[in-house]
């Protein structure tokens, strides 16, 4: 039995890793997973780079940033498996959320993220006119999808995320305390934290990540490029274990067992009830309202685990858009090599998991579920729209960025 050290951050979207370890899927592939709970994404990256971990639950932007050397010396990190899609929410302090609801005409329509963004712009303008300080909104990391979808959503409504509001990095374990103590006015982060804030009655959810981008890339399994090369068979076995675990975890019949395991102190250390609610897409957005969003966090269906190269390219486009990366053909080429659908396909060739025919797609082009060319089985993907209706064609990155008005 080969032991793999895998780092994770205690979030609901670590579900597939926890399931793979706890419910025998790794063992069935001859692997033992030693999970290492990490307190920060900086730890995840450093321990992976310095070989203290073989693999890690990673923000999808991290392998790209590591490979491009955006904050450290470049170290190739690859992602051959997406641990799920979506799973984030935007939460505001209760008083602000109540005011936002009033601007929205009494209640927020969670299916219309654009209308909510425009209402937030009105709130921002109102505060500026009254001489109030700009809203401080917490995100967990500069390379996180939370940062990018929040910026995307704000900018749609003409809110300059670097001028009209203040985005600050707040570690998720401290984010609810920060809201309680008014160190921040809101945040965009993964679960369980929005639900924790609502349950504690310090904040309300005002937008769902899955209504900003319907099929948003979120966490991936990251491994070092050299490790993947030297351990090709082990990686393939791990991908098979994760595939089986994801199929199991995505089945609602297993939800309570999964939530119970995730609730344990060595994992999330949160109530199973809360975790189960999130897995079911039953989001308590305020003390009195629950929103039903079955695609809030997708662990398996619709090829949720397929590492679309176009998703990595979208993240890169946002790194360029917000000045984190300098665009260059070399960088674009490097980004195309970070997500590895080839490894996914090879490892899962005999798994029975339906496989898309292509490695990249025009993101945001599907308004309804679409049956797609699949190596076997029936597979439908999407809808994968961005709330503003824009499409991202990975072959025309520069043209895509020009569509957005300069702030």
């Amino acid at each position: 039995m080969k032991t793999l050290r895998i780092g994770f951050v205690p979030l609901v979207d670590s579900a597939v890793l926890i399931a793979a370890k706890a419910f025998g899927f790794a063992e069935a592939e001859g692997l033992e997973i030693a999970l290492s709970k990490e307190a920060s994404w900086a730890n995840i990256r450093d321990k992976l780079v310095y070989r203290h971990l073989d693999g890690a639950h990673m923000l999808a932007g991290l392998p790209i940033a590591a490979t491009l050397g955006l904050s450290r010396a470049p170290t190739p990190v690859i992602a051959a498996f997406s641990l799920g899609l979506n799973g984030n929410a935007v939460t505001l302090a209760t008083a602000l959320a109540v005011r936002l609801e009033a601007i929205c005409g009494g209640a927020i329509d969670f299916d219309d993220a654009g209308a909510t963004a425009l209402a937030l712009a009105a709130l921002v303008a109102e505060r500026a006119a009254a001489g109030a300080p700009p809203l401080r909104i917490g995100v967990p990391h500069r390379f996180s999808s939370h940062n990018y979808i929040l910026r995307y959503w704000l900018a749609f409504a003409g809110i300059d995320p670097d001028r009209d509001v203040q985005l600050v990095i707040v570690p998720p374990p401290l984010i609810v305390d920060a809201l309680t103590e008014s160190a921040i006015d809101g945040f965009c982060v993964g679960e369980p934290w929005s639900s924790v804030a609502v349950d504690a009655d310090v904040g309300r959810i005002v937008a769902l990540g899955c209504r900003i981008w319907e099929r948003g890339v979120e966490k991936v399994l990251g491994v070092r490029g050299d490790w993947a090369e030297a351990n090709a068979e082990t990686l393939a076995a791990l991908l098979r274990a994760l595939d089986a675990a994801a199929r199991w975890a995505g089945d609602e019949a297993n939800r309570d067992a999964l939530a119970g395991e995730m609730a344990r102190p060595e994992h999330l250390d949160r109530s199973a009830g809360l975790i189960s609610r999130v897995l079911a897409g039953q989001l308590r957005v305020s003390p009195t309202a629950v929103v039903d969003a079955p695609d809030f966090l997708m662990l398996y269906r619709d090829a949720a685990n397929f590492p679309w190269v176009s998703q990595a390219q979208w993240l890169y486009s946002q790194m360029v858009r917000w000045g984190q990366a300098t665009p260059s053909p070399a960088a674009e080429a490097a980004v195309r090599g970070v997500f590895r659908p080839d490894l996914y396909r090879r490892a899962l060739a005999a798994s029975g998991t339906p496989m898309p025919g292509a490695n990249a797609k025009v993101e945001g082009a599907l308004a309804a579920p679409l049956p797609v060319g699949s190596a076997r089985g029936r597979l439908s993907i999407g809808p994968d729209r961005f709330f503003d209706g824009r499409r991202f064609d990975p072959d025309h990155l520069a043209a895509y960025l020009e569509e957005f008005p300069a702030p």
Binding site: S40, N43, Y50, H52, A73, I169, L174, E181
Partner: protein, 200 residues
């Protein structure tokens, strides 16, 4: 004895360990040491102190905040980078093992930092040893309590003296190649199943 005048900031979720580290650095002749306790205004406090070196507990979630600070170097007067030196992998590994990481002002000479980091690693390791010993001592204490309860059960049920009861537990443990505390635990659970009224 170090002669360099470095301004050091310490960020640690454990105040006790921060104190151990601070004392070690002071013993080594470093006097400009600032322990940061701020939870949410971390960036402002670090900027105000303008340290040459930031030592941070690897298990602190606030590492992501520091990372951001160093990524956006215009936010601070003096750009800081993590002490990453690929030629000295063993040192980085020792630091990660010990559970400490360091961020240093860009351009500071490596030799000046190395002694500080070496010392921090040593102090973190000392602290962990102390903690391990504490945990061990606590569990020994707990073990002794469990054995005492089991002894009382045997004394009551078999009408034995304390020494004889202990000898019985010990011989059972030897026969089954288990620890006495495991035998004691099993006995206590069996007792509580058979006679819930008298269980400890």
């Amino acid at each position: 004895m170090m002669v360099v005048a470095l301004r050091i900031a310490i960020i640690d979720e454990s105040p006790a360990r921060a104190a151990v580290l601070e004392a070690g650095l002071r013993d080594a002749g470093l006097s400009d040491i600032n322990v940061i306790t701020e939870r949410f205004q971390l960036l402002r406090q670090v900027a105000d102190i303008a340290p040459d070196v930031v030592l941070i507990d690897l298990e602190s979630p606030r590492r992501d905040v520091l990372d951001e600070m160093f990524a956006v170097s215009r936010a601070v007067a003096r750009p800081i980078a993590m002490f990453v030196d690929h030629s000295d992998m063993s040192m980085m590994e020792a630091a990660i093992d010990a559970g400490v990481s360091a961020y240093v002002v860009d351009g500071l000479r490596k030799e000046r930092i190395k002694s500080v980091l070496d010392l921090s690693i040593a102090r973190f390791n000392v602290f962990r040893r102390l903690q391990d010993e504490l945990v061990e001592a606590r569990s020994e204490l707990a073990d002794r309590k469990i054995i005492d309860i089991a002894k009382a059960i045997v004394m009551r049920q078999r009408g034995l003296t304390e020494d004889a009861a202990y000898a019985l537990l010990r011989s059972a443990a030897m026969r089954q190649s288990r620890r006495i505390v495991e035998i004691a635990n099993a006995l206590i659970s069996a007792e509580s199943l058979l006679d819930p009224g008298t269980a400890a």
